[in-house]
């Protein structure tokens, strides 16, 4: 099994607010992230595909193809967007790193034509990231 990883970066804004909580609770739980005007991050997304290299092309998955999938499914949806208001898949959810990574997994997983999606790692900053794996399992890497 070979693991191939492609990295892309996008910039987006978000805010954390749960309408079921009081204003005071929202401020206590989410702190600065509860600012109603929102704030933004430079996100770094690493997508890892697992598979055997094709005997003819030597590739697990053509990187050009993966690049196009990421552009279509993720960049066009999320880059320079306000995640709370412009990404329908996040409707009704707090756009934390965990939830955005999960949404990205669900968007990409059915679109990978060769190999299989192994891991989505989303960095919200250099010191905070979320990993998403399918089937409740993660492998050694």
């Amino acid at each position: 099994m070979v693991y191939l990883t492609r990295k892309v970066e996008f910039a987006a804004s978000h805010l954390y607010h749960n309408p079921a909580l009081s204003a005071e609770e929202n401020r206590r739980v989410f702190g600065k992230c509860n600012n109603p005007h929102g704030h933004g991050h430079n996100y770094t997304l690493e997508v890892t595909i697992a598979g055997e290299p094709d005997p003819v092309t030597g590739m697990v998955l053509d990187l050009k193809e993966l690049k196009e999938i990421l552009e279509r499914e993720i960049m066009q949806r999320m880059d320079h967007r306000f995640l709370n208001y412009e990404v329908v898949e996040l409707e009704g959810q707090i756009p934390t790193c965990e939830n955005v990574a999960r949404v990205i997994w669900n968007l990409l997983e059915p679109k990978i034509p060769q190999g299989r999606l192994h891991r989505v790692r989303l960095y919200e900053s250099a010191d905070l990231f979320a990993d998403c794996y399918g089937n409740g399992a993660r492998s050694a890497i």
Binding site: G31, I94, E98, N99, R102, W105, R121, C132, G136, A137
Partner: protein, 150 residues
Amino acid sequence: MPERLHIELGRRYRFAASHRLHSAHLSDDENCRVYGKCNNPYGHGHNYTVEVRFSGAIDQATGMIANLADLDAFVTERVIDPFDHRSLQEEVPAFRETVPTTENLCLEIFQRLQLFPNAKLESVRIEETSNNSFEYAGDKESQPSRGEQL
């Protein structure tokens, strides 16, 4: 939503500390041969980066596996405050007898952080320098497999 995903939260912390690699089980000559410059009796220091990963269910009310403020406070109390700007073998009791290699530091930090009550510690990875990193993910043989947990 019919999905079986395993999600982890990763966070990086930093501390600076000094250490000296010296084993009581070895002679002075052997210590010098095995540890080289790291055996300097005055010690030396590193800027350590500790990367931790926790798993758990996403709390629907907060969208989080664990509240970062809670996690940061726990790690600061259990690891950063007792290690930062300290001499590991002189000031951390765990390293009085155990050589403070970064391998052993991974084990010690794993032990401390697996007590975090709000999520399950998956791994501790420490960068001793930008060229050396060490990772400990627990003793998998004594744990149920991930598939069984979920």
